[in-house]
């Protein structure tokens, strides 16, 4: 089901290797409420190794300057560092560096695509942009499990252009129903936007099937890779999608940076979204001409120190090996799913134990509200996420307003997974839910 290129089974990290890795993450040594911190909220934001933290610190201390516009050496050095980061991060996803656009995060990247298509639909971008024009009769397809970041921008695009938003439904467990696909995806479909890995269910999307369908009908594909690029080997060439987005802060990097990858001929044809300095060739008071991608989409002062830190995060991940990261977390995902499924009152969301899932699991506990569940965990130093995880439509479909999610990363230990599972068995009794 996964469309990642790693076929040979990689060896998961062993617990001694993980213990050594953890030394690089100072925050993991913290105590919370008198217990050692058990950080199972990496799906929301990951922690940063000292290498990444120091990369940003060193830049600010010794090299900070405005890039791309400088004649002075400080600026030339900063520009070079900055452009090297683009090559590093592009290579990490198998991309050409001219196809990687910096954004402030995945949300900004998805808004960029939807907004630029909106601009094209409003007649901006000239003849080259014609191919992106949407109007009444055209359809945009998402799935029922999308994060709001990959849903509301498309709702807004539909509202602006008169296009119709449709969705692939999920079943009672929150798993995508591919049987419905032929009713939804057809000649009118112009865009299919979906998450590579769901941040709630942990399911891995059938990328190749959806890409094949999109190709058949000539639709563009947009992959929300927020939960895959940090955790699996991702290679844009073999995925076959047209656009892909991810965020730095979920992959050991800092806040304030993310990226859009897009096929070059598409990026060069797309009108810009944000406009301003450093993305133009000629500006008169009445109009402007724009640079090719990626600069065309990078208006204004860029997140330079963040890019430098993100490149450092990428090198950290590469040193560990993404196939091993994935193997480790896949095992945690199974351990979580299997462990949760047998706890009285717990309903596991997403793929059942034994089916592939990423290293995270969400659940509902009958009779206890998710925020009370989360509070119980917090008291024991276990940091999990509770709420709708920015996926209200999915929760509504499952008859929930909120759920509890544990999400792992390469620094998570088996003992932490087990501590979480043990605590889960105690929540119902504490709140007096009889069983």
């Amino acid at each position: 089901m996964t469309s990642t290129p790693s076929i040979a089974p990689a060896v998961p990290l062993d617990q001694a290797e993980i213990a050594a890795l953890r030394e690089r993450f100072p925050i993991l040594a913290r105590e919370m409420n008198g217990h050692p911190l058990v950080y199972l909220d990496s799906g929301a934001t990951s922690q940063r190794p000292i290498e990444v933290i120091d990369a940003e610190h060193d830049y600010a201390t010794h090299q900070n300057a405005a890039v791309h516009r400088g004649a002075h050496l400080l600026a030339a050095e900063a520009t070079e560092l900055f452009e090297d980061t683009r090559a590093t991060v592009a290579a990490f996803i198998g991309a050409d560096e001219r196809e990687l656009v910096w954004t402030s995060g995945a949300t900004a990247a998805l808004n960029l695509i939807a907004g630029a298509i909106g601009n094209a639909s409003a007649g901006l971008g000239g003849a080259a942009a014609e191919r992106f024009r949407l109007g009444p009769g055209d359809e945009i397809v998402v799935t029922e499990l999308e994060h709001h970041a990959n849903l509301i921008p498309w709702q807004q695009l539909a509202a602006r252009t008169g296009a119709t938003l449709r969705h692939l439904p999920v079943d009672d467990h929150g798993v995508l129903r591919l049987d419905a696909v032929d009713d939804i995806i057809g000649e009118r479909t112009r865009i299919i936007a979906f998450a590579h890995v769901s941040n709630v269910t942990g399911a891995i999307a059938p990328v190749s099937e959806l890409v094949a369908l999109a190709e058949r009908v000539g639709a563009l594909t947009v992959l929300d890779a927020c939960q895959s690029v940090p955790h699996l080997p991702v290679d844009v060439a073999s995925l076959g999608v047209d656009f892909l987005v991810f965020s730095g802060h979920k992959m050991l990097g800092p806040n304030g940076i993310g990226a859009l990858w897009g096929r070059r001929r598409l990026l060069d044809a797309l009108p810009p979204f944000l406009t301003g300095g450093s993305m133009i060739t000629t500006v008169t008071i009445d109009g402007a001409e724009f640079l090719p991608a990626p600069q065309r989409f990078e208006a204004g002062t860029q997140p330079v120190s963040q890019a430098i830190a993100l490149a450092s995060a990428v090198r950290f991940l590469q040193a560990v090996g993404m196939d091993r990261v994935h193997a480790t977390e896949a095992a945690y995902g199974q351990r979580l799913a299997a462990g949760l499924a047998v706890i009285p009152g717990v309903t596991l969301i997403g793929p059942p134990p034994g089916t592939p899932r990423a290293g995270l699991a969400s659940f509902d506990l009958a009779g206890v509200h998710a925020h009370d569940v989360g509070q119980f965990f917090d008291d024991r130093g276990i940091a999990v996420r509770v709420g709708h995880h920015c996926a209200q439509p999915l929760h509504r479909r499952l008859g929930l307003t909120a759920s509890t999610r544990a999400s792992s990363y390469l620094y998570t230990t088996e003992a932490e997974i087990d501590a979480f599972l043990e605590a889960t068995t105690l929540v119902g009794p504490f709140f007096g839910v009889s069983r």
Binding site: D372, F376, Q392, A402
Partner: protein, 145 residues
Amino acid sequence: MSGLESLYQELILDHARQRHGFGLRDAPAAESHQLNPTCGDEVTLQLHPGPDGRLAPIAWEGHGCSISQASSSCLSDLAAGLTPSELQALVDEFRTVIRSRGTLEFDEERFGDAAAFSGVSRYIARVKCAMLPWVAAEEAISRLP
């Protein structure tokens, strides 16, 4: 008392299970609907007239965590027999204490079972839960004819 037990006092868990005043009634004097945007939980709360120009127990419906449910339940009891302006004064006091980050305590005489919420004020993320019905009550008061 551990942190968790100061937050989830027995009285609170009891009120969360046995929700006083749960269920809306016809012809309220005023009503308010409030949503807690951080979690998506909601409450609809009604003021009904009781004897002597005073209020009947509050009627409400909604879903949410045990803190918000218990808070609604306690509030329903407390409102009974107050005038609207007395209730407003209570809302103001409740807000002051619950936002005090553990520096103030509820007066048991005035707040009855709701005094059990003193422990909540140290949990900044849960203050909104406890406040939810009180904000609704405040809005409903402002809508009274």
